[in-house]
């Protein structure tokens, strides 16, 4: 039976055995990388975030107080690093780089702002009449995800891709459960809008149909 994350952390604290820390790295590196990639959209930045996350974890493991799960704690570190990168990009460009929808920057939780961003996508999706294969469908979804404001995208990624619960996401991003709920709601509305032409009730259209 596998030890829990918290048990491994405790053993590492007591023994300093690097093998324990490595087991934590192996458990989480791909999860962190995948989430960071979905949030940032860049493999290089995702790898940088993943490496820096474990450096910070190694340095701050003594500060882990078990108030939240280890998973929430490590994802919080990764999330903060992602936010740093997004903000650096914003400062560099002077605009919100995470969304092409100008209305989404006014009030991302306002339902009136949930207009379709499809016309603003730099690399537009193919017409719904076109048959698309599974790989293309995934590309559409990935692109649609990148259309969301960073705060909404983060919540969608953490919930629908990484499987965290609302309270865990609130811990990770440092907000309330109500805000998580709201961001997830409006983020999904926007995604459904963008992907509506490709959706039926069973999901994205299958290429074979």
């Amino acid at each position: 039976m596998d030890l829990s994350d918290e048990a491994i952390v405790e053993e590492f604290r007591q023994t300093g055995d690097s093998a324990k820390f490595k087991s934590l790295v192996r458990r989480y590196q791909n999860r962190i990388y995948n989430a960071a990639f979905r949030i940032l959209g860049s493999p290089d930045e995702a790898e940088e975030v993943t490496q820096d996350t474990f450096l910070k974890v190694h340095q701050g493991l003594s500060g882990f107080r078990k108030e939240a799960s280890f998973a929430s704690w490590i994802f919080r570190i990764a999330h903060n690093l992602c936010v740093d990168i997004v903000r650096t990009k914003q400062r560099r460009t002077g605009v919100k780089v995470v969304s092409f929808d100008p209305q989404s920057t006014q009030n991302e939780d306002d339902p009136q702002d949930q207009n379709s961003a499809l016309s603003q996508i730099a690399d537009p999706l193919p017409s719904p009449a076109q048959k698309v294969d599974l790989e293309e469908q995934q590309v559409f979804i990935e692109k649609s995800l990148m259309e969301l404001p960073e705060s909404q995208r983060t919540v969608v990624v953490l919930h629908d891709i990484e499987g965290f619960q609302y309270q865990e996401i609130a811990d990770i991003v440092g907000t309330s459960v109500g805000t998580v709920r709201s961001r997830l709601h409006y983020g999904r509305i926007k995604l459904r809008e963008i992907l509506a032409p490709y959706f039926d009730n069973q999901g994205v259209q299958a290429a074979s149909r």
Partner: protein, 278 residues
């Protein structure tokens, strides 16, 4: 119909939490009963489920390398980067000390230049006076200069001895020049210079006293070694300019001390860089 729409307005924002099973018991029952009776909300709930399914089926990206295999190197590099500066500069506090030292040095240079220009005439006037007048006359330019400097000084304890040192140096107008730092053949002088530099750079609360002692020592040394004082005099930097250095340093160092509240030491490494240790 309108009541159904108003119900939808209530329940649509709850649909995501309903699909995610994040509502409490009573809310779940309310939304479930509405969804069963409302085609539109039922359709939306299905769309949410489909979206979730599509997102969760996205391929999971993986690191191009195993960090665990490279962990020692990664952590080693990081630790080396963190520990390497500790030999020379211990912390941000030490770095701030170094900045303060640079600021003090810059202030000294500026004030020394300004002071040498302003007091040049007065200094020459004093040098031309007979020694007795230099030491006795309360109106002498040297005493006047020292008094003016003392008025601007925050290290009040320096003032009397500064003036005294100036008067004692009557026979050798430039002998109190602390530029003896440049003398390499006198251990005592080097020690004094070192002490003075230490204080001006790092700002202990004893700066005034220490520098005064340094000034006294330099007087004695200068008396013993007139050739040194001649060299110092030829540098054209008057004592007044050096004396004026003190208030500038003291003010800066007083600010530093307020912030830090600690005494620090300074040494010089092989490359001539200052290492500050707490």
């Amino acid at each position: 119909m309108s009541s159904k729409n108003s119900q939808c307005e209530t329940y649509v924002p709850m649909l995501d939490a309903f699909v995610d099973n994040e509502l409490d018991g009573s809310e779940t029952n309310e939304v479930a009963s509405h969804v069963q009776s409302c085609d539109d909300c039922q359709r939306q709930a299905k769309e949410i489920e489909a979206l979730k399914s599509s997102l969760s089926s996205l391929p999971r990206r993986k690191m191009s390398r195993d960090l665990a295999d490279n962990l020692d190197a990664i952590l080693g590099n990081k630790e080396a980067a963190v520990t390497a500066p500790k030999d020379n500069v211990v912390s941000i506090k030490a770095r701030r000390g170094w900045i303060m030292a640079l600021a003090s040095a810059a202030a000294v240079v500026v004030i020394a230049l300004a002071g040498s220009m302003v007091f040049k005439n007065a200094h020459q006037e004093v040098a031309n006076l007979p020694p007795e007048k230099q030491s006795q006359s309360p109106d002498s330019a040297a005493t006047k200069g020292a008094t003016e400097i003392a008025q601007n000084s925050s290290a009040s304890e320096v003032r009397p001895e500064a003036a005294e040192g100036r008067q004692r140096s009557g026979n050798n107008p430039a002998l109190t020049e602390i530029k003896t730092t440049h003398s390499s053949d006198s251990h005592a002088i080097e020690k004094i210079a070192s002490t003075a530099h230490h204080d001006s750079a790092l700002g202990t609360s004893e700066i005034g006293m220490t520098k005064t002692t340094a000034a006294q020592k330099s007087v004695d040394i200068a008396q013993a070694q007139p050739s040194k004082t001649t060299i110092a005099a030829s540098d054209g930097i008057s004592k007044t300019s050096i004396m004026k250095e003190r208030p500038a340093s003291s003010e800066l160092l007083a600010l530093y001390e307020e912030d830090e509240g600690t005494d620090v030491g300074m040494t010089t490494d092989e490359d001539g860089l200052y290492a500050i240790k707490l």
